[in-house]
């Protein structure tokens, strides 16, 4: 098992490019599997296994994939909320997030990078009134002067469609949609630059989903946020994103601008995934690509390309050698042997 840990830092460091607020390079996050009486580490769940992407300032990147593919772990690992990373780089405004001392991280960087969690029911402390949930960090980080504090909280709340009198209420008195608004207001109140939206709408019903998505869009226009929007709902991602990454078993198999990904997907997995989007037209025939089998365990992923066990276009090389991410066309990256041979030969 030690062999795995030796190779986690085999990557070429990236140079900081000012265009990108966030640069993620070969990011890895493994969770140890402990077993036996003395809790020896017997293996690793490779939740995130070498993820590379960049997000431009003020844009939204969608991250899609089936459940268990590591989307949420990517979001949390970027924000340093899941313990130490296993390997790779996370550059936020050019600074390696994991090299920031704890104190400075809490004081300066937590406010700039925020997260909205999937479940608005469990992510709000049941013991605090809403005003305190939103305002606590504002006060702790002195985001606004004391005299403006009350007005500021009111403003943030009304930005998110909440009434100021909601301040005194407790989370359990709100509906799901309202609670997600509270979560958004909480993140927003810290004047962040970058927000990870970890499936912010999947716990809500469809009509509320639209409201929340539009709210996020409006806020982005108003304040110029950058979003990493994690979701398994392709139509939501298509609506909100500028660029899209598709994840499978801890890897990003394909990523590029939304148009490229949705109009001309390259990777067999992306094609299969998109063929599953329902079309609201009963007369139209769809060519659904049905994937055989189920997702392999991230504790013992297949050799070579991780997708080869389910890929319709599997070749010999796929079983032996893992493909690397290549730029198939400008701004469109794919991680598949089908395109590697044509475009970059050597790889």
């Amino acid at each position: 098992m030690d062999d795995i840990m030796k190779t986690v830092n085999d990557y070429t460091p990236v140079e900081y490019d000012v265009r990108y607020i966030l640069m993620v390079n070969s990011l890895k996050k493994y969770f140890p599997i402990k077993d036996g009486v003395i809790s020896r580490t017997v293996g690793y769940v490779r939740a995130v296994d070498g993820v590379t992407f960049n997000i431009e300032r003020g844009t939204t990147m969608g991250l899609v994939g089936e459940s268990g593919c590591g989307k949420t772990t990517v979001g949390r690992t970027i924000l340093r909320l899941a313990g130490e990373k296993t390997g790779g780089q996370v550059l936020f405004n050019g600074r390696e997030v994991y090299d920031i001392p704890n104190k400075e991280m809490n004081r300066d960087y937590r406010t700039k990078m925020q997260i909205i969690f999937q479940d608005p029911f469990s992510s709000l402390s049941p013991r605090l009134p809403v005003g305190e949930i939103i305002g606590e960090a504002v006060r702790e980080h002195k985001i606004v002067p004391k005299s403006e504090y009350d007005d500021y909280i009111d403003k943030v709340m009304s930005d998110c469609g909440l009434q100021p009198f909601h301040k005194m209420r407790y989370p359990h008195e709100f509906s799901g949609g309202q609670r997600q608004r509270i979560c958004i207001a909480r993140a927003l109140a810290l004047k962040p630059e970058f927000i990870v939206c970890d499936e912010p709408v999947s716990a809500l019903d469809v009509s509320i989903q639209a409201q929340i998505i539009n709210l996020l869009n409006d806020l982005q226009e108003k304040y110029g946020f950058t979003y990493l929007f994690i979701s398994h709902d392709l139509s939501v991602v298509e609506h909100i994103s500028d660029s899209v990454g598709v994840m499978y078993l801890g890897n990003i198999v394909e990523y590029g601008t939304k148009e490229k990904i949705f109009d001309s997907p390259l990777h067999p997995y992306t094609k299969a995934l998109f063929s599953a989007i329902p079309v609201p037209d009963p007369s139209q025939k769809t060519n659904r690509i049905v994937l055989e089998g189920s997702v392999p365990s991230p504790a013992s992923p297949p050799e070579g390309c991780k997708f080869h066990t389910r890929c319709a276009q599997c070749m010999e090389i796929c079983k032996k050698k893992a493909p690397v991410q290549t730029e198939a066309e400008p701004g469109h990256f794919v991680c598949c042997h089908l395109y590697q041979d044509q475009n970059s030969g050597e790889n």
Binding site: S39, R76, L79, L81, M105, N106, R107, Y109, R110, T111, Q114, I115, F117, D119, S122, S123, L124, S125, P126, R127, L128, P129, E136, A137, E140, H141, Y170, H172, C183, R186, A187, L190
Partner: protein, 328 residues
């Protein structure tokens, strides 16, 4: 809230009636009968009446010549007149005997309880925040050792070490030999000194479970999503632990604490016996084995009242600390 409390109190009365009936029935059905043994002793005396004649006379004298249910009703009737009767074994009014013995147990229990909370809760929090670390394992092992140690064994160890070997404390008793000659403060200090070992015993054997309980609950809270939210806000670890996590851990702890209040009046039978402290635990035990119905009835029903009140109290406290349970 008021309606709720009144409703709970009314239900408690019903529960209390039946609890009392069960206790009374049990006491009457015990194989050790105070009256029987008394009749036996009296009939042994030279030139005395026969055992049967004594039995008849004594049974009538102690009003035990009726069935369980009428006897119980009779007892309740007396209670409503504020009369708990005289203790058979101690030959003084029940209330007087109770009053004589309960306060020493209560003081001892309360001090032990406060110390227990002061040690167990912070240790539990510490163990949870450093889960699976050496600190955590050390605390957990110590807690388990405390839970597993039999009181009599641990108390004997303490006595061996601190009384016999080191000679710091007296072996037993509540006051020293020269108690009467001491000044007022000296008397208090003397009693306090005699309470040290019993209290240490009580704290060590009961601390473990509260600590484990705090740890478990704290861990549950620490793994919840809103703690991740608090971390994501960039709050200091201190604030995350104490302001967010600990507040939520308080709910189950309050329930436990409310539930253990009656225990303060129940006394600590084994500890009191080992250290020869005339507390309520020891006294009630002796009353029960000798079949002293008036005293046992009073003591056990009093415990039932306290348990019911303790439950009600913890439910009310629950509402105080948890906004979700507050009844509008």
């Amino acid at each position: 809230m008021r309606t709720y409390i009144i409703k709970r109190l009314l239900i408690s009365v019903v529960i209390l009636f039946f609890t009392g009936l069960i206790i009374y029935g049990l006491m009457r059905s015990l194989p050790t009968s105070y009256i029987e043994s008394m009749a036996m002793t009296k009939s042994m005396a030279p030139g005395s009446k026969s055992y049967d004649e004594w039995m008849e006379q004594l049974t009538a004298m102690y009003h035990m010549d009726v069935g369980i249910l009428p006897g119980y009703i009779q007892w309740i009737g007396e209670v409503f007149r504020g009369n708990f009767g005289d203790s058979w074994k101690w030959s003084v009014p029940v209330l007087e005997k109770f009053n004589d013995s309960v306060w020493i147990s209560f003081t001892m229990g309360l001090i032990a309880f406060v110390i227990e909370m002061l040690i167990a809760i912070p240790l539990g929090v510490l163990a949870a925040t450093k889960q699976y670390s050496k600190t955590d394992y050390t605390i957990s092992v110590a807690a388990l050792a405390g839970i597993s140690l039999p009181t009599f064994f641990f108390a004997s160890l303490l006595k061996l070490l601190f009384s016999v070997k080191l000679g710091w404390f007296d072996l037993y008793g509540l006051v020293g030999r020269d108690y009467e000659q001491l000044s007022q403060t000296g008397k208090i200090l003397d009693q306090a000194k005699h309470l040290v070992l019993p209290i240490v015993t009580l704290v060590v054997v009961s601390m473990g479970s509260l600590m484990r309980y705090t740890r478990t609950n704290m861990l549950e809270v620490l793994n919840s999503d809103y703690i991740r939210t608090a971390r994501a806000k960039g709050l200091s670890e201190r604030r995350v632990i104490f302001h967010h996590a600990f507040r939520n851990t308080l709910i189950p702890i309050v329930t436990i604490v409310g539930g253990s209040l009656p225990g303060l009046f129940a006394g600590a039978l084994i500890t009191e016996t080992l250290f020869a402290i005339p507390g309520i635990g020891y006294v009630s035990y002796q009353s029960m084995v000798s079949g002293d119905i008036p005293f046992s009835m009073f003591y056990l029903v009093f415990m039932a009242v306290l348990t019911l009140l303790g439950n009600l109290l913890s439910d009310i406290l629950y509402a105080v600390v948890d906004p979700r349970v507050r009844v509008a």
